[in-house]
């Protein structure tokens, strides 16, 4: 009796595990870990079947095992696919599209590695997306919800939510490389978060066919020895600022004297979220992408200068953490309106230099114009003045010249005629013209405009390309790539990892 039970049970197990293996069903979930994979169940059941059954059944078991064996061997081959996993979207049922999008959001798209969809969750690397479906319309003036989402997914750097850095990759490029259909599904999912799903088709704002845009233009990846890289990590004083679980950090001041000890991101799980290219870029060009909460700023407000770490930032205020010589830390909340306007000598790369407002006087006007910088080109700048915008030329502006003569007197006025190379120069100072002898000028400063400035830089030294040899760098990268954190690696076998990166 009991033998019959074993016979039937093992037969059922064999058939079920065969089908489950072929269909790629995931193993029995127990808590967060998986139990034995189906291949092991299949082998066990085959062995039991061959022992307990007699001739015909034994033969069938053997045949099935051979068929399975070849499928198993083929499954061991690591491969990259040209498959588009999503072949069509069924817009008659938007909810199902949103579900597909959610799967991509949490899976292939790797969005959930940085974005949270839970207002109570601790602040992540990227903005929380709760109710994004409704909020999307209010993010950027002039863009409706769908257009905003399309722009954010294809060209994430165009608009950054205040307080967050430029760290989102272009998800349509390798290694994530989502197809158009997949991005559509993700948009549907995002819209379903507090909004209406809008199934209207759109054109991609990018050119997938252009190989230049698709292939990453960064230098090649390097390989190295993680053990040596760990030594580099310590000897190059990375450890002075960056914490890594398992490596003891020397106390402040004990490390290399060349660097100021600042707070820098914990790198214990860095490789779980970022690819090698990002790590490489972060070492070679520290300022390219700054993790929010770790940027260095120098701001002038109410006459005082604050130099420290930018803790947070939104549309109205910033929080700067400064450190006194005694080591005591202090946080300052500064309203953006409190920032001082700083004189600007050259009207170039204003945004890149951190300016967000501008005050200037056009050459043909008397009154100055002041407003937030909306757009900037090589020779013009668009300001938001009141409710409208105003585009001003960068060259036709009244220039203030500040002159200090050898007596130490300071004269400020706009140039009427002459240049510094002539013998004489006529300045308009408070309505009256003054003639200046150019030989009596000790120092002069042109001021073309004033602006409020908030420039976030990386506190990390920029001399690593000089400091590290190529092999140091490759070893360091190899070491960093091992920092995946225990929790992140337990689920992905090496084969899985290969496949994900291939897609």
């Amino acid at each position: 009796m009991s033998k019959t039970v074993v016979k039937v049970a093992s037969l059922i197990l064999m058939v079920v595990s065969f089908i489950a293996y072929i269909a790629g069903v995931s193993a029995f979930p127990i808590a967060s870990e998986n139990l034995l994979p189906w291949s092991v169940w299949f082998i066990i059941s085959v062995v039991v079947n061959i022992i307990v059954w007699s001739s015909v059944m034994k033969l069938l078991t053997f045949s099935l095992a051979v068929i399975w064996f070849y499928a198993f061997v083929a499954g061991l081959v690591p491969e990259s696919s040209t498959a588009i996993n999503l072949t069509s979207l069924d817009w008659s049922d938007p909810e199902s599209v949103a579900e597909q999008g959610a799967a991509i959001f949490n899976g292939k798209g790797q969005c959930s590695a940085c974005h949270t969809v839970d207002p109570s969750a601790p602040k992540g690397r990227c903005p929380d997306l709760t109710d994004i479906g409704a909020n999307a319309a209010n993010r950027q003036p002039g863009l409706d919800a769908k257009t905003y989402l399309i722009e954010s997914l294809y060209e994430p750097a165009n608009y950054l939510v205040p307080g967050y850095g430029k760290i989102m990759p272009e998800i349509w490029k390798a290694p994530i490389a989502l197809s158009k259909l997949e991005i559509e599904a993700v948009i549907a999912y995002l819209q379903s978060q507090g909004g209406e799903i809008d199934p209207t088709p759109y054109d991609e704002p990018i050119d997938r066919a252009d190989p230049g845009t698709v292939a990453a233009a960064l230098p090649p990846l390097l390989t190295g020895d993680p053990a040596l890289g760990k030594k580099v990590f310590v000897s190059a004083a990375c450890i002075s600022c960056h914490a890594v679980k398992g490596i003891e950090s020397p106390a402040a001041g004990e490390g290399s004297q060349d660097f100021e000890v600042v707070t820098a991101p914990d790198l214990s799980e860095i490789a779980a979220f970022n690819d090698m290219r990002y790590l490489e870029e972060s070492i070679l060009k520290p300022g390219a992408q700054i993790v929010s909460g770790y940027g260095a700023v120098t701001v002038k407000a109410n006459g005082a200068t604050f130099q420290g770490t930018l803790v947070s930032q939104d549309t109205e205020q910033i929080v700067v953490r400064t450190k006194k010589a005694s080591g005591e830390e202090e946080e300052h909340t500064i309203l953006l309106t409190e920032l001082d306007e700083e004189p600007i000598e050259e009207l170039a790369n204003l945004k890149a230099n951190g300016y967000f407002t501008l005050t200037l006087t056009p050459a043909d006007a008397d009154a100055s114009v002041s407003g937030e910088i909306v757009e900037e080109t090589e020779d013009s700048v668009t300001l938001k003045v009141g409710d409208g915008t105003q585009t001003l030329s960068k060259t036709d502006v009244k220039t203030l010249l500040t002159i200090v003569n050898f007596d130490g007197d300071e004269i400020v006025g706009s140039v009427v005629s002459g240049t510094l190379d002539d013998d004489e120069l006529v300045l308009n100072v408070d309505g009256s013209e003054e003639v200046i002898d150019t030989f009596d000028i000790e120092d002069s400063v042109f001021t073309r405009a004033f602006g409020k400035k908030l420039l976030v830089t990386s506190p990390m030294p920029e001399n690593f390309p000089l400091l590290l040899s190529v092999s140091d760098l490759s070893n360091l990268l190899a070491f960093l790539s091992t920092l995946t954190g225990a929790a992140a690696t337990a689920e992905a076998t090496p084969a899985d990892a290969t496949e994900t990166s291939a897609e």
Partner: protein
């Protein structure tokens, strides 16, 4: 002896079950209707490019139906080939066992025949429904051949009926005519395969060499080329065109068909695929017979049954081996033609997209050769006096395993190595093992495996016999030195192959290796036959005294063979990538991507399960009829006891 009589009667019982040919005609008529209607229907529906097949998708549906159709097609092609060969042997040696076995299998073929027709109908249905535009294009080009196909199908059907039902009636005086019917059946079957091969090879390689084209086609090709390149003169267009240049049979911009039906049929890969499949079918037929015999051996209750099915398994495996040995050569020719047709396709196949498939193929072929040798060695256990050859076995195992290892070693190891291993190797290729990944090493390994397998067979043949010829010593020395020097020269050519230009290697060295292997087999067989002509028997073959393990090996061989066919079907079809007709008609359906190897083999595994379930059912029908017959003749049973 009585037992044999009974078996023969039992076979009649099987025959009773197939006394309703009209039933078989139903699917056949369905198929013919579909075949003739296909062009017209497809034309009508051509405005729709694709229609999705519910649940599993169009590609998977067409894939499963096509592969099953092909496997059953191979069955009804391979098994009759086997039957005719066996019948001929039986006729010549006057050994009734052969004749009986051949008849038993033709009966089994009848059931498989209707299944094939049914699956063909299903396939045509799916293709017309899911891929109307492709079918319209293909039927536009191949219309006449489809009519020819139907005619051949009729021919095959009626010849099969005559051959099968006339078996007992035509014994004795008419045996020669009966054999002629059998050959005719195979001619029909082979012709049918050739016709359908033309369709699918055309999809892969819609081009022919310039030298093979007719004058009118040459003219229309030239006109289309001049129309595409305004300002080009006729001399410029003909520049660099030799008889060997691959000429597309279509206008390259409009896709308009320029050539004749025959030129489309006789496309670049048609003949290589024909030959490859023909030889493959012989081997497949043999291995299916051997598997059936193994199954009957394992369930057999009497000693006589075991003896009979042991002998049947041996014969089936022998025919399979005869097909298996030349098969790599035919495959090599096919691969070479694919490279000649389109280099990109060739690189895709061997170096890039499908390179890992050939590692899996190497695993399967390794299993085939190791299994075939295992069976031969096991078989020597049932012959007295075979023990003297046992001492060579470990060395032969070592040679085969080393060769299989070389064949299985991938050229590029980057996908299966960790980064520390990669940096230790200094790249994706291992400095020494990487050499095993090149074709010249693999070709050498295959030739050595084939020679070793032949040697195993030679030992088997000699077991239990002592030659009486006066020159036996000289003969043995001659044979040993032939083996030794041929093996050395194959290896030397292989090593030289690393240093010469590829063109020379592909066109001269490798064919030489193949030639050496073939000449050795022929020469040694001739010497051996003469040496053992009047050999004394020192031991007899004790049929039935085989281990169960060896029978499992026969089943393993059959499944491996079938899986290999499924896998290579994926390769042949996948080579086109996103084209229905390569370079002419693009696949714009959602299934245009190439599935992963693991996904493909999963589908193949599903096909295998369905195929063996259906074949098992057909075998079981045969067994069932036999049992019924046994119950019906109790008197004979008593006598037998």
């Amino acid at each position: 002896m009585r037992q044999h009589q009974q078996t023969r009667l039992d076979i009649r019982g099987v025959a009773c079950r197939f006394k309703k040919p009209l039933l078989l005609l139903v699917p056949l008529i369905l198929l013919i209707l579909l075949q003739t209607l296909a062009p017209a229907v497809a034309q009508d529906m051509s405005e729709a490019e694709y229609r999705p097949f519910p649940k599993i998708g169009s590609r998977n549906a067409a894939w499963i139906a096509a592969q099953l159709h092909l496997l059953f097609g191979s069955f009804i092609l391979g098994v009759p080939m086997f039957a005719v060969i066996i019948e001929f042997i039986g006729w010549k040696t006057k050994d009734a066992r052969y004749d009986r076995m051949a008849q038993e299998f033709i009966k089994l073929c009848m059931g498989a025949f209707s299944t094939t027709a049914l699956l063909g109908g299903v396939l045509v249905f799916i293709l017309i429904w899911c891929y109307p535009k492709v079918m319209s294009k293909l039927s536009g080009i191949f219309g006449p051949t489809m009519i020819f196909y139907v005619v051949l199908f009729f021919g095959e059907t009626f010849t099969l009926y005559l051959y099968s039902y006339g078996w007992d009636k035509m014994q004795g005086r008419h045996k020669g005519w009966h054999l002629f019917l059998g050959v005719l059946l195979n001619v029909f079957g082979t012709a049918i395969m050739f016709v359908s091969n033309s369709w699918l090879t055309y999809q892969t390689s819609p081009g022919t060499q310039y030298g093979k084209l007719s004058d009118t086609t040459r003219q229309s090709w030239l006109e289309s080329k001049l129309a595409q390149n305004p300002g080009m003169t006729q001399t410029e267009a003909m520049e660099g065109i030799t008889d060997a240049t691959v000429i597309p049979l279509h206008n390259e911009t409009t896709g308009e068909f320029l050539a004749t039906v025959w030129e489309a049929v006789n496309n670049f890969t048609w003949m290589p695929v024909n030959i490859h499949r023909l030889i493959g079918n012989i081997a497949f037929g043999g291995s299916i017979v051997a598997a059936y015999a193994a199954f009957r051996f394992l369930v057999a209750k009497t000693k006589e049954d075991r003896a009979h099915y042991d002998w049947m398994g041996y014969t089936g495996n022998f025919i399979a081996l005869c097909g298996l040995i030349p098969l790599p050569f035919a495959g090599y020719w096919l691969g070479r033609e694919i490279y000649m047709f389109n280099n990109t396709m060739g690189i895709n196949m061997m170096g890039s997209l499908f390179s890992w498939l050939f590692i899996i193929q190497a695993v399967m072929i390794g299993v085939l050769f190791i299994g075939a040798n295992y069976y031969l060695w096991s078989g020597m256990g049932r012959i007295d006096g075979a023990q003297i050859y046992a001492r060579y076995r470990p060395y032969m195992i070592a040679i085969i395993v080393i060769c299989v290892a070389i064949w299985m070693t991938p050229r590029t190891l980057s996908k299966i190595s960790t980064s520390s291993e990669l940096s230790a190797m200094g790249g994706a290729n291992h400095p020494h093992l990487g050499l095993f990944g090149l074709m010249t090493a693999k070709n050498t390994a295959v030739n050595i495996i084939i020679l070793t397998t032949f040697l195993s067979f030679l030992f088997y043949r000699r077991s239990g016999k002592s030659p009486t010829a006066s020159w036996k010593k000289v003969g043995n020395i001659a044979i040993s030195s032939i083996f030794f020097f041929s093996a050395v020269s194959i290896v030397v050519i292989g090593i030289v192959g690393f240093t010469v230009p590829t063109d020379l290697r592909v066109n001269v060295l490798t064919p030489y290796q193949v030639l050496i292997a073939l000449v050795v087999m022929v020469a040694v067989t001739i010497i051996d036959i003469f040496m053992y002509r009047k050999a004394t028997m020192s031991g007899t073959i004790k049929w039935g005294e085989m281990t169960d393990r060896s029978q499992y090996v026969l089943i393993l061989l059959a499944i491996t063979f079938t899986s290999l066919m499924g896998l290579m079907g994926y390769a042949r079809s996948g080579l086109r990538e996103a084209w229905h007709i390569f370079g002419v008609m693009q696949d714009t359906s959602p299934d245009a991507f190439t599935p992963l190897l693991s996904e493909a083999v999963n589908i193949v595994a599903i096909i295998m399960v369905i195929f063996f379930a259906l074949v098992g059912f057909i075998f079981w029908l045969g067994l069932w009829g036999e049992k019924k017959k046994q119950q019906a003749v109790p008197t004979e049973m008593e006598e037998a006891d």
